[in-house]
């Protein structure tokens, strides 16, 4: 009889546990595929992203993980080329412990991966690439961009330029030759045409991404004698360009806009004079008023500096903000499910209209899965507290001011901008 009772109790308990487990069915760990450049010229931009990911995931796991489940990051080097990246994505997606992909850095890889992610129904959060072509023609269910697109980013640069230097004639553009660079050239030109029609583009150069040397391009730029030079170089390309151009007096003869300039300030900033317009294509700068006000951000900056011997640059914030956004999506989904582990469709439902406080501002996910982030632009300024220049005279352009609405053709929207808006945009130095 006793044996029967014990067996029955055991059975009942097992059933109890079973249903509880069935209710939560939490996995032992969740895999995040994290795509960034860890080799080649792009690594100068990609490694800060990877560093931030390591830091944030360590912190998340230290406080129990997401919904009590630890996160396992799997890093993929985009340096192996698109074919390899796509193959890696497919392979990671075929393993069911991998629930989310944080990809990618390069616009080229994002454009290649988005249809693949959709085919495989793998929730993918684009942590960096901003090419507006991503959501231009296609609607995705499983692909999100947790940062801004090229449209607001480069419109903000034009607005800042016109604020500090309303009078100029000749403009030169030098961007890397791929979607991101071509996008930038187009958006910059169209915005300029709308807001300052008398400006003239005298030179447009698109050297290959990853070119080691720009000496001839620099000669060409210098000989054209432009008043303004715009460039969205990044990574080692940006650092090489700055190093090679500075002794040729490029930065003193023209007003230069380095749209992604903040990422290079700690490495090559010392050769730059004051007054070079630099941006962070978003709001991820560690010395902004918002960043300095938030205790979580200050802690992040400090631990980043201690771990990696330099301050986090904006790619680090893009990655960190994305990871926190993904965590928020999970937490929202788990709360909606009352503890049951979310399926992919649960995550998609939770990501709808998501609004998250990030380390440096807020992120809003729109109905077309694109992200709304404020744009910060400033100029280089020497600061006695640091051995490199900082961003001064900053402006924080609200996302809604510089981003076309859902469904609008960005170029048509830009063409409709009027010079009169300059009266209502925030002035340089207003972001304090």
């Amino acid at each position: 009889m006793t044996r029967f009772k014990i067996a029955a109790t055991a059975l009942l308990l097992a059933a109890g546990f079973g249903s509880a487990a069935a209710q939560t069915n939490k996995p032992a760990e969740i895999g995040f595929g994290i795509f960034t450049f860890t080799s080649g010229p792009a690594a100068a931009y990609g490694m800060p992203g990877r560093n931030a990911a390591e830091l944030v995931i360590k912190q998340i796991n230290a406080s129990g993980g997401i919904g009590g489940v630890p996160v396992k990051p799997i890093y993929v080097d985009e340096g192996q080329g698109s074919a390899g990246v796509i193959a890696e994505f497919r392979r990671l997606a075929s393993d069911s412990t991998n629930e989310v992909m944080i990809a990618a850095l390069s616009s080229a890889n994002c454009l290649a991966l988005a249809p693949v992610a959709e085919q495989l129904q793998m929730p993918t959060f684009m942590w960096n690439c901003d090419t507006h072509q991503l959501f231009l023609k296609d609607r995705y269910k499983y692909v999100y961009r947790t940062n801004s697109s090229t449209v607001p980013e480069f419109i903000a640069d034009v607005l800042y330029l016109l604020s500090v230097k309303p009078d100029f004639k000749k403009v030169a553009i030098i961007d890397p030759d791929y979607a991101f660079g071509r996008d930038a050239g187009l958006i910059f030109k169209e915005t300029l045409k709308a807001l300052k029609p008398d400006a003239e583009i005298v030179v447009e150069l698109y050297p290959k991404l990853g070119s080691p040397s720009y000496n001839t391009e620099i000669s060409r730029l210098v000989s054209a004698e432009p008043d303004v030079i715009f460039s969205n170089f990044w990574g080692a390309d940006l650092e090489n360009f700055v190093r090679q151009a500075a002794p040729r007096e490029l930065f003193t003869r023209s007003t230069v806009i380095l749209a992604l300039g903040e990422s290079a300030l700690q490495h090559v900033g010392t050769v730059l004079p004051d007054g070079v317009i630099v941006g962070v294509i978003g709001d991820g700068y560690w010395l902004t008023p918002d960043a300095q006000r938030k205790p979580q951000t200050k802690a992040f900056v400090e631990s980043y500096r201690q771990s990696f011997n330099e301050y986090p640059v904006f790619p680090s914030f893009k990655m960190a903000n994305t990871l926190y956004a993904v965590k928020a999506v999970y937490e929202k989904a788990i709360a909606t499910n009352k503890g049951r582990w979310p399926t992919r469709d649960d995550l998609v439902a939770a990501a709808k209209d998501l609004k998250v406080d990030t380390l440096t501002g807020t992120l809003v996910l729109r109905e077309d899965n694109d992200g709304l982030v404020d744009q910060i632009v400033g100029v280089t300024k020497k600061d006695p507290a640091y051995p490199f220049p900082v961003m001064g005279e900053m402006v924080r352009y609200p996302a809604t001011m510089v981003t076309p609405p859902v469904g609008a053709d960005p170029i048509a929207w830009i063409k409709d901008l009027k010079p009169a808006i300059m009266a209502s945009v925030p002035k340089p130095g207003s972001y304090k």
Binding site: L205, T216, A236, E239, Q244
Partner: protein, 298 residues
């Protein structure tokens, strides 16, 4: 106005100078050893990396001026490390074997060296522009030029002329010429042909590494450098005529100027230009501008 074209001329010659070092090494090795060395670009890359590293060491110790010597020490080290070793082991085995096999052996070597590079130097980009900074700038016609570029042009001239003199006047040069002209006969009169091969190959490695070292202050050094330069060097060597030093010089100038001109007048086609020129030249003169009767089998 000359002033408007001066940047073009300086850039073109500087570009030509950098290509020349690599192309002349390739063509020299082909002329003596009769092998198209696909791994030639890897020596360029090693020269660049090593120069950056040595320069950084000197700079770190507070001897910035010595970083200039790194530009010469580095290629010497690369040549000493790789030249005799590779010639004696890999290349020697391929002499007399079919061309396809020879090219493949050097391709295999290229693959190995690419990874060796990553293992030794890592995959992050390097930069050391101290030599460029040290030499400063000059102002000509209102435009600022890097004195370093002018130095490159002078060095290329020096190397070109020295090579020519070496081959024509010096004893070693005459031995090399003899082996090139008729190897069998040279051996029968007692010339140590294997020694000559080793020497010629090592000089070729030195020249490639020198190209890399001299280029390093003006470029970013990252993986993939060797692969890009070798195909350009092939183009230049083929245009000039394989085995012809003057041909390599002329072809380098031609390619340097067409590339630079493209950036000024048709920037979208700048990377296409060297290969278009190569196709054009090879169709009209398959042996290159200075090349002579080819290797048709009878």
């Amino acid at each position: 106005m000359i002033a408007n074209y001066l940047p073009l001329i300086v850039d073109g010659l500087a570009d030509a100078a950098l290509i020349f070092f690599v192309a002349v090494g390739l063509t020299l090795v082909f002329s003596v050893v009769r092998i198209l060395n696909v791994a030639h670009g890897s020596f360029y890359a090693f020269g660049a990396y090593l120069s950056v590293v040595i320069g950084a060491i000197f700079a770190g110790r507070g001897w910035p001026l010595l970083s200039l010597t790194a530009l010469v020490i580095s290629p010497l080290l690369v040549a000493l490390a790789f030249g005799p070793l590779i010639e004696r082991t890999l290349l020697r085995w391929t002499y007399g074997r079919p061309e396809a096999l020879q090219i493949l052996v050097t391709f295999g070597l290229f693959l190995v060296l690419e990874d060796l590079q990553k293992l030794v130097f890592g995959v992050q980009p390097y930069s050391q522009d101290l030599p460029m900074q040290l030499l400063g700038t000059s102002r000509i016609g209102g435009i600022v030029y890097l004195n370093y570029q002018l130095l490159l042009i002078v060095l290329a001239l020096v190397v070109g002329v020295s090579l020519r003199l070496l081959l024509k006047k010096s004893r070693i040069g005459k031995l090399i010429s003899a082996v090139v002209a008729d190897e069998e006969l040279a051996r029968t009169i007692g010339i140590d042909a294997p020694r000559v091969f080793m020497l010629a190959f090592s000089v070729g490695v030195f020249l490639a590494a020198l190209g890399g070292a001299l280029a390093s202050p003006t470029i970013g050094v990252a993986p993939g450098l060797g692969a890009e330069i070798i195909v350009l060097a092939f183009a230049v060597a083929a245009i000039g005529g394989l085995g012809q030093i003057e041909g390599a010089a002329l072809a380098s100038i031609l390619i340097g100027f067409t590339r630079v001109a493209a950036i000024y007048f048709a920037p979208e086609f700048q990377p296409v230009v060297p290969y278009l020129v190569m196709v054009a030249v090879l169709i009209v003169r398959p042996y290159g501008l200075f090349g002579s009767i080819g290797l048709r089998r009878i």
